[in-house]
């Protein structure tokens, strides 16, 4: 790794249906919150990174033009990075590399989405090319198939997987109710989850994330600047990102290589050998409860094929060995372009003791993660309280 990089400020909007603000206003809300948290002004920023989902989501092409003023980016260099659902992690990695390269000291990274101004599923249908794969379009279809592939591959009894996914949903909704910024703030029982209406078998309504409006901003700084500006920076300890082949049948989605290798690279950089024991918090990208089970395995947090057992044993529930998604996760909040960055912001808040009502006592090392594409991309960033 080059120069050490620290997070000196984070900002999020209140997520949900935000008819009260325009899209640029929404972006500005997160950016202003980050400046307030870091205690610096836009003049201190050397560069800006922006990312969101494809333009079709809100009908604006290259919307960083539109948000130039809201991001306080006028007169500054701005890069745009985008990798579908994993955009939030990709823009963070761009910001870290920018500072680490020595070409900037302080970089503002912004991700956003205003999904109530467009049709997210219609956009996601167009990720699949129009000739061979279009009939499998839309996120629930693809991810339900993946859930079935995983159950089949490891011979996991359907009832067991169902129970484990329901526990994840219950835990996340409880956590979301505890997070003032979350979109969905309602608690459910295991029975309610298991009896919710079917979306695409086996996925039911309460196994699925909402469609949210929201933005997130994170400010990265070089070691020198971070120490000067911030009493408790969250240090970037490791990063990994991998993508897989495009056609869904070309790679195993039960043993998800992109997630396995992305997390391995991040753990290696961070010097982590036993992630479940060493990590204090994991902010996992879980738009579908079943997917979190696969992530727990592929991110190396439990043995392959065993996530359901671990979840039923309470290993990843509040008070368990490793707290997952104390923010409520993607199941409670999903403004897609911001979602992966929210995971990192939440991880940074945890290791710096700024997580308020959702603080995990004494958290020192946290993982953040995002997934995107046609079940293709996985990005991981690990932050810690110590350099």
């Amino acid at each position: 790794m080059g120069r050490a990089v620290g997070i000196i400020g984070t900002g999020q909007t209140k997520h949900g249906r935000r008819d009260d603000v325009s899209y640029p206003d929404l972006v500005r809300e997160a950016v202003n919150a980050a400046f307030e948290d870091a205690g610096i002004t836009p003049e201190d920023i050397d560069g800006v990174v922006f990312g969101s989902m494809p333009s079709m989501m809100e009908g604006m092409a290259y919307n960083h033009f539109y948000f130039a003023d809201a991001m306080r980016a006028v007169g500054k260099p701005i890069l745009r990075a985008e990798t579908c659902g994993s955009t939030g992690q990709s823009i963070a990695h761009t910001g870290v590399h920018w500072v680490s390269s020595g070409m900037a000291d302080i970089v503002l990274v912004v991700g956003s989405e205003k999904q109530h101004e467009g049709d997210a599923q219609a956009t996601m249908m167009t990720i699949l090319e129009p000739f061979l794969q279009l009939s499998a379009g839309g996120a629930p279809v693809a991810f339900s198939m993946q859930s079935r592939e995983w159950m089949g591959y490891y011979h996991i009894a359907e009832e067991k997987a169902r129970e484990a996914a329901a526990i994840i949903s219950v835990d996340c909704h409880n956590a979301g109710a505890n997070n003032p910024l979350a979109h969905i703030r309602k608690r459910f029982t295991k029975e309610e989850v298991m009896n919710a209406p079917i979306i695409t078998y086996p996925v039911r309504l309460l196994d699925v994330c909402p469609s949210s409006d929201g933005a997130c901003a994170v400010i990265f700084a070089s070691e020198e600047k971070a120490k000067k500006i911030c009493e408790t920076p969250a240090w970037v300890k490791g990063m990994g990102f991998r993508g897989e082949e495009y056609f869904i049948g070309d790679s195993s989605k039960a043993v998800w290589q992109s997630a396995i290798e992305a997390s391995r690279e991040a753990y290696k950089q961070a010097g982590i050998t036993n992630p479940r024991k060493e990590l204090d918090v994991a902010e996992i990208y879980n738009p579908f409860s079943y997917q979190e089970l696969m992530f727990l395995e592929c991110l190396g947090l439990c043995p392959l094929g065993k996530a359901a057992d671990y979840v039923i044993d309470g290993v990843f529930s509040p008070g368990g060995e490793l707290s997952c998604d104390p923010s409520g996760g993607v199941l409670c909040t999903n403004p897609i372009g911001a979602t992966g960055l929210i995971r990192l912001a939440e991880a940074a808040m945890q290791v710096t003791g700024k997580a308020g009502s959702r603080q995990i006592e004494g958290a020192k090392l946290a993982l953040s993660h995002a997934m995107g594409g046609a079940e293709q991309f996985n990005g991981v960033t690990i932050v810690g309280s110590e350099l």
Binding site: M1, G2, R3, V48, G51, M53, P54, S55, M56, G59, M60, A61, Y62, H64, F65, Y66, A68, D69, A73, V74, G75, K76, P77, I78, L79, R80, A81, E82, T83, C84, S90, H93, T94, V96, H97, S100, S101, G102, M103, T123, M124, T126, I127, P130, G240, F241, R242, G243, E244, E245, Y246, F247, S258, E261, E265, G372, G373, A374, Q376, F377
Partner: protein
Amino acid sequence: MKKVGIVEVTQSPGAESSLSLMEFTYKTVKELLDKVGMRRDEVDTYVMASSDVLHSGMSCANSFDIDATGGFLKPFSRTEGDAITAFVYGCMRIMSGNYDTALIVGLIKGSENADNDTITSCFADPFYSRPTGINETTAAAMQMRLYLQRYGITEEQCAKVVVKNLGNALFNPYTHIKKRVSVEDVLGSERICDPLKAMECAPKSDGVCAMLLASEEKAKELTDKPVWFKGWGASMDTFYLGDRDLLDTPLKSAAASAYKMAGISNPRKAIDMAEICEPYAFQELLWCEQLGLCGQGEGGKLIDSGATQMNGSLPVNPSGGVLAMNPYVSRGLYRVAEAALQIKGKAGEHQIDKKVNTALAHATYGFCGQWQGVVILGS
């Protein structure tokens, strides 16, 4: 700061391609890997540039493109916007010390897209600007009108840019438009958005450009003539055209940052050649001013003087520029590639006569150049 070298570049043929987007991309990437003698898994990291709106009707472009770029299961990222940002991000990844080699790919198949301006009209906000019918071309026409009026630049001077660049393109096998034209031809072409004439506007092209970058040590190992990344700068203007002076653009500050990083105090002396993004002919003159390659309002005199001709003192767009080849997303990476080829002395028939030590590559997109980026390369 660590040094980064360009090892090798490849470009797709200029003509519209009948290949699928995936095959079209793969061919240029494979050619690059073969040229440097590497396998795809030997490259440390991949950064690609493609656009979700200029991508054959498919969103999340990198989902589809990853196979053909060779970046699957390798450290990977993608910039959205002009591909010059993928080049810069690739440099950052190497400079951070995390990786020694980076493969950069910019890709677009314009022939499978709607007209560029159907898409650029979506740059405008849907409430105030878009209902006026604004797009990149209508915005550029307003900028040109202002340029002619404020500085007395003539339409003939603007037309000369087309004559020069299309003339240069005749010697570049990787360009789309192959046509020798005269000033009269340009002035006589249809006025599509007064004062812009049809021949003063760039076409819509298919183009993949691939580039291998390496750390100093690795670059020296892989090639006997690395081209070094010396500096870059970028800047963003405010959104609404009415809030801007269209002749005083963020290119000035982008250039200032790039020159500072490259240690250039007098760009007119230091720069040996420039590849400038001119989707509209007059913009080459205006951008030369903003880059400090001539005085303010002197873009017309610059083209009259012949300095920017292939055999002039400061050749601009010896490749033929964007007027001859406009793969919208990858065109900025093409500028870097062409500048690198000139420094390497490998530009073939459009190699300029004098020795090139320092070259400038420029990219822009957005209404009247809302985003501007400058890269300086050196021998």
